[in-house]
Amino acid sequence: MNIEELNRQTEMMYSGHSACPGCAAALTVRFMTRALGPNLTVVITASCWSIIAAVPPLSTLKNPILHCPFPSAGAVGGGLRRGLNKKGHHDTTLAVLAGDGGTFDIGLQALSGAAQRNEDYIFVCYDNEAYMNTGVQTSSATPIGARTSTAPYPMFKEGQKKDIMKIMAAHKVPYAATATVAYPDDMHRKFKKAKEIKGFRFFHILSPCPPGWGTESSDTIYLSRLAVTSGFFPLYEIEDGVRWNMNMPLQDKRTPLKDYLGAQKRFARMEKERIEALQQEVDLDWECLLENVRKTEKGKPQHKTE
């Protein structure tokens, strides 16, 4: 889709919400609600969007929103889907919106259970790589080396970022995809595609956060683009856990990771060895991804979920 076509989509979000200036999460949900259409219901678990959704009697979205406690997103989504079906609303799309906390950490159990049961909804994780709503505390989605309020300088986040996409692939969900705000056409296409698939669908969306990452509010799109072009956050899809499609074949033209890291204060004063280690990890993951894509292109394992 080109820009003009994207801009003709019906907006389901209002201005006047309280997201930080330059918030990618706000933009993500704007894109999501456009793509998934007006007959969409959204479950929101504890995250920045619990606040962005506004204080009753106001609402930031035209779609109905059901807020739920932090660990419960995966399960509440499953229950709501079944309840809606019982009431005859089979055509209503259901999206469950969670941050990285509600997906990778405290929400992981419910996510895993729902994925394993192949609950029929779209789980959308907007990942700003820390518990941003409560003040930038470390999560298991925080990249290694980043400073947070619970790992302040000279500390840093130890341990790699969890590969949530591989976790979802291990659950053999029908559809899992990465996306980010700098590529709205890619995100739109994927949401539209996911809408037509039955079963558990998962989105991992990188959502740059100006206050949490220590970046200018104007650089959100730029950073999200750089995350992709450096290979730190590749754009790809996994179908049924076994078929991998690359959406941005960059081959060897990836931009250096240190450009991406250098633009963010949370990586400030990062030791050279650590930058190299991180670059190596990104390279390894990239190779692994390419390998999976190559295997898919050759043989296409054909198992399907029931």
Partner: protein, 380 residues
């Protein structure tokens, strides 16, 4: 009307099936597992109307029920002990969100250490969450109460817990009058409460709310729950017409001239009632509805019969304070001109209530002692 030999857990499951639930999401835990298994059997035979979902934890069980209830579906789940504790956050949430969920809780002590005996502390520790609680003393009561709970809950838009003892009720087989499904469906039709999630209608449900507005919501919850005893009465009138049985929020059997009553909830109440003739002219109070606490009813009974002493059977203990039923009773009788003495018999840990213990309890307290506690191990 045929009688079936069923356990308390089976009774709970059958009641849910008869009522016609849209969704059951549950996780097994001793001594509740038979609830889940019985419902699974119904599902396997195609006799369960709704979805049966084996979730991966109790928290997710209640969360799934929460989601379905938001869409206007009738839901049921069951748990016990650690499972109930695990879903604690969700229990609060459902109370505040006003979802009419019915949950069976089988009393079992919460560790540490691991204990299987029926301490009531698990359900009692949830007493502040905005759920109604009704304690049953036998399988028939469990079955009937679960059916009534749906009515009560969907009318008041407050969730309801049906509580019964582990093993004594859950695993004991009793002859139970099991009503026909059609009859139950006549008594309680399909769910008619308003769904909160209406596709196409903007609604930011349970979003961030200020303290001022929250006060209004809590006040409403409190006031609505206080309507339960009246409603319970009218539901039981109707129930009696359909099924020939009726229940009260507080059941009392007090012989003339009795100055002491023994108050109990759960299977212990049954024990007291059976052995009442041997208990030296004491009366008994079975506390069935615990939330809302039927304070007015209890005060009237005490006043009408001139009761001077209540011995409370507490199969629980709140460390640092004592038995919870005793505490609640003291609170209820405080405003009376001549409140009775309240003696607390603590059977925490879930130990057995024997006739010997009851007789010893009646002897144990001095005449003028206003309050006091005796632990089960100290009695015969």
């Amino acid at each position: 009307m045929p009688f079936e030999l069923i356990s308390g857990t089976q009774a709970a499951a059958i009641a849910a099936q008869r009522v016609g639930v849209d969704l059951v999401a549950a996780y097994p835990i001793t001594p509740q597992t038979a609830v889940v298994e019985t419902l699974a059997n119904f599902a396997a035979r195609g006799e369960l109307d709704g979805d049966f979902v084996s979730v991966e934890s109790e928290y997710s069980a209640l969360a799934t029920c929460n989601g379905a209830s938001a869409a206007g579906a009738r839901v049921f789940t069951a748990t016990a002990s650690h499972g109930l504790a695990y879903m604690h956050e969700m229990i609060h949430w459902c109370g505040g969100a006003r979802f009419p969920i019915v949950m069976a809780n089988v009393n079992r002590a919460i560790g540490a250490p691991w204990v299987l005996d029926p301490d009531q502390g698990d359900s009692l520790s949830q007493r502040d969450t905005g759920w109604m609680q009704i304690y049953c003393s036998g399988a028939q009561e469990v079955l009937d109460t679960v059916i009534q709970a749906f009515s009560l809950s969907e009318e008041l838009l407050l969730p309801c817990m049906v509580v019964f003892d582990g093993f004594y009720i859950s695993h004991t087989y009793e002859p139970v009058d099991v009503p026909e499904k059609s009859r139950v469906r006549q008594f309680i039709g399909p769910p008619t409460f308003q769904p909160q999630v209406k596709p196409g209608q903007t609604s930011n449900l349970h979003g961030l709310t200020t303290g001022d507005n929250q006060q209004l919501l809590v006040k409403k919850r409190h006031e609505d729950m206080l309507k339960a005893p009246e409603l319970f009465k009218s539901i039981n009138e109707r129930f009696a017409q359909f099924f020939g049985r009726r229940y009260e929020t507080v059941f009392s059997e007090i012989p003339a001239g009795a100055k002491t009553v023994i108050m109990a909830a759960g299977s212990t109440a049954e024990t007291v009632r059976w052995h009442l003739p041997e208990l030296a002219g004491a009366g008994m109070l079975q506390l069935r509805m615990f939330r809302p606490f039927p304070a007015e009813r209890i005060r009237r009974i005490i006043e009408d019969h001139g009761i001077e002493r209540v011995i409370v059977v507490d199969r629980n203990c709140s460390p640092g304070m004592g038995g919870i039923f005793a505490q609640e009773l003291k609170n209820a009788v405080y405003e009376m001109d001549r409140p009775p003495a309240v003696h607390d018999m603590i059977l925490a840990g879930g130990i057995d209530l024997t006739v010997a213990k009851l007789k010893d309890a009646l002897r144990a307290w001095p005449e003028n002692e206003r309050a006091g506690e005796k632990w089960g191990v100290e009695l015969e």
